[in-house]
């Protein structure tokens, strides 16, 4: 189910240098919005923030899966960012800094498929080999390859 339709290299950044969750969500929103001319980066940013206010999307082990819904998409789209250095994501001292974030933007109507996708991503990220692979990847293509998302699959 993790297919090229979900994400492609244009929505992946490798080795980004930023220092805050706010900037991370802003950049993910920009990447998501680039998927379709109808999408507005500011609105997507606002949606991600709204969701984040209700509860953190940090998964543990330095991973975050920010996500939101919008009526402006018909299929789920994703964006991925690998950071140079981890950032404080939850504002709680005991948390691991986040250095990998996979964002999802889903259509408004409730659908189990989105939940399955979220669960599937969470499953991939819970594998330490995949996490190591993602941290060592040096290009967007390599990142997608570790996640087993490529145009050939």
């Amino acid at each position: 189910m993790l297919s090229i339709d979900l994400i492609d290299e244009t929505r992946v950044i490798c080795g980004l240098e930023i220092t805050s969750k706010k900037r991370l969500l802003e950049i993910l929103a920009r990447l998501l919005a680039s998927a379709h001319p109808r999408l507005n980066a500011e609105v997507v940013f606002e949606r991600l923030l709204e969701r984040e206010r209700l509860g953190s999307t940090a998964l543990g082990h330095g991973i975050a899966l920010p996500h939101a819904r919008t009526k402006d998409v018909t299929e789920v789209i994703g964006a991925l960012v690998q950071l140079q250095r981890g950032i404080d994501y939850d504002g709680m001292n005991d948390d691991e800094p986040v250095d990998l974030a996979f964002a999802l933007l889903a259509p408004e109507e409730a659908n189990d498929q989105h939940l399955r996708l979220l669960a599937q991503l969470a499953g991939r990220f819970s594998d330490p080999t995949i996490r190591d692979g993602l941290r060592q990847a040096e290009s967007p293509a390599a990142l997608l390859q570790v996640l087993n998302i490529s145009s050939s699959s």
Partner: protein
């Protein structure tokens, strides 16, 4: 959370002090180098010298990485301008502006995203004034705080010999008043918190915190102490921002005398207040207090800008026979020293108004926060979202919840519409919490935390889980 505070005055400094301990990264901007140095000596935060509304200054303070802007300078204009700048140039998600002039808040369209981009406006002086009005209305209470837009109140009162519940277990409350439901959330005995269960006995001198529907709070109070005479006559020392606001509202229902030291200010007040009596003089002047029948006063409120002055005036008034005295005290150490001793109520304006800001700093959907016991304890109103699989609380009975010691749920307000806050909120239903109360999605859950240290745990517990889409 990364926070920029504009203005290192009384409001800004106390906000910084309250937030700095909570794993927040704080940057304070002010034009006054001396004030900033004082703050930095005392607290772990960064400072930037400059005009708070300038893009370059905001950038220097890290605006691009900031989650929350709190613009609390003395100038409404600076605060508004800073919010607009922060929105356009730096996309700071949440912007709070202090607006002292009611003119702006009357035109809410000026504050929306297209205009000044203020997400929330606060007026600390108004919050303190409302707080004082509650104390005038409930002379038996030490504190009356509202949740769910006023539907539920949290009341702090001292139990006094003669109250029907004194010496009895908490569970007797139900027997004494079968028609009224209330929950005793905490008891402070000799300053130590007790989390009561049904068997806990209330002693005279206990400071009792209880939650009830606002319409019932007076009835519950009669269980803890005999009813005091209602307030009729008030004397306010200090006709400044808070004193004049209070006098203006209070004069409609009470006999009000205001003592103001500054002659020009006294004259100005005299002409703007139609039924309150304004006197020019010194509130620490014994002869003046006596000649104005201080011994007839139900409530004496010392509200000048000067802590020492307020303390002295309140002590003097009490000594001369005022029934109840209150002093506004900015320095926390002074307030700790005085409460419950010879001054009936000592309040720190910063403590009273900080809750309105904390609601935006707390993680999760928090509708209201009140800081209690001078910042040591806290009461929060959470709105719970999701379903039994994405929330740890929805679909559970209260007794099934795994709340940490020192935390208790006092009440739930159900059926509050999210879309039109304020107007339709009154349609909600107040449920006092019992073990068998089932929590539903969109409930407003009101919790009492005996220690602020419990906040992160509770935030996590009440947040939606990762799978909430």
């Amino acid at each position: 959370m990364k926070i920029i505070i504009l203005g290192a005055g009384q409001v800004g400094s106390s906000v910084a002090e309250s937030l700095v301990s909570e794993a927040n990264e704080i940057n304070v901007i002010d034009t006054d180098t001396r004030r900033l140095r004082q703050l930095q000596d005392r607290l772990d935060l960064r400072t930037v010298i400059g005009n708070a509304a300038l893009p370059s200054v905001l950038r220097q303070a890290g605006a691009e990485d900031t989650d929350l802007l709190i613009a609390v300078t003395q100038s409404d204009q600076t605060n508004l301008c800073a919010c607009r700048t922060a929105d356009t140039l730096f996309k700071i998600p949440t912007k709070i502006a202090r607006l002292r002039s009611a003119d702006y808040s009357k035109h809410s369209e000026l504050l929306d995203a297209k205009n000044f981009a203020v997400d929330f406006s606060i007026c600390p002086e108004q919050i303190v004034t409302d707080y004082l009005l509650k104390l005038i209305e409930f002379p038996e209470a030490l504190q009356v705080l509202e949740f769910a837009d006023g539907m539920v109140s949290l009341v702090a009162a001292r139990a006094v010999e003669g109250g029907p519940l004194i010496g009895h277990p908490v569970s007797d409350l139900r027997r004494h008043m079968p028609e009224i439901d209330a929950r005793i959330a905490a008891i402070y005995r000799r300053d130590q918190p007790i989390m009561p269960d049904g068997n806990t006995r209330i002693e005279a001198g206990d400071e009792v915190f209880y939650l009830a529907a606002t319409r019932d709070i007076r009835q519950v109070m009669t269980e803890l102490r005999r009813r005091d005479q209602p307030t009729r006559r008030l004397m306010i020392a200090g006709g400044g921002n808070i004193g004049s606001r209070l006098a203006e509202v209070a004069q409609e229902r009470y006999q009000v005398k205001v003592i103001e030291a500054n002659e020009a200010r006294a004259r100005e007040l005299g002409s703007s207040l139609n039924s309150a009596l304004v006197l020019c003089g010194d509130a620490t002047d014994e002869t003046l207090l006596i000649s104005e029948n201080i011994d007839d006063m139900d409530f004496f409120l010392a509200l000048t800008n000067d802590d020492e002055n307020n303390i002295m005036a309140a002590l003097l008034a009490k000594n001369l026979g005022a029934r109840r005295v209150l002093a506004l005290i900015n320095r926390r150490a002074y307030a700790d020293l005085l409460q419950a001793d010879r001054i009936d109520i000592a309040i720190s304006p910063a403590q009273v108004s900080i809750g309105s800001l904390l609601a935006h700093v707390r993680r999760g959907d928090v509708a209201a926060v009140h800081s209690l016991r001078r910042g040591a304890a806290e009461a929060l109103e959470f709105v719970v979202h999701g379903d039994a699989s994405t929330s740890k609380v929805i679909g559970r009975h209260i007794h099934e919840l795994d709340l940490p010691r020192g935390a208790s749920i006092g009440a739930i307000v159900r059926g509050v519409s999210q879309d039109t806050p304020g107007a339709s909120l009154r349609l909600g239903q107040v449920l006092i919490a019992h073990g068998d109360t089932l929590i539903e999605a969109e409930d407003h859950v009101i919790l009492f935390l005996a220690s602020k240290d419990l906040v992160p745990k509770i935030e996590r517990y009440f947040q939606v889980g990762l799978a909430f889409f």
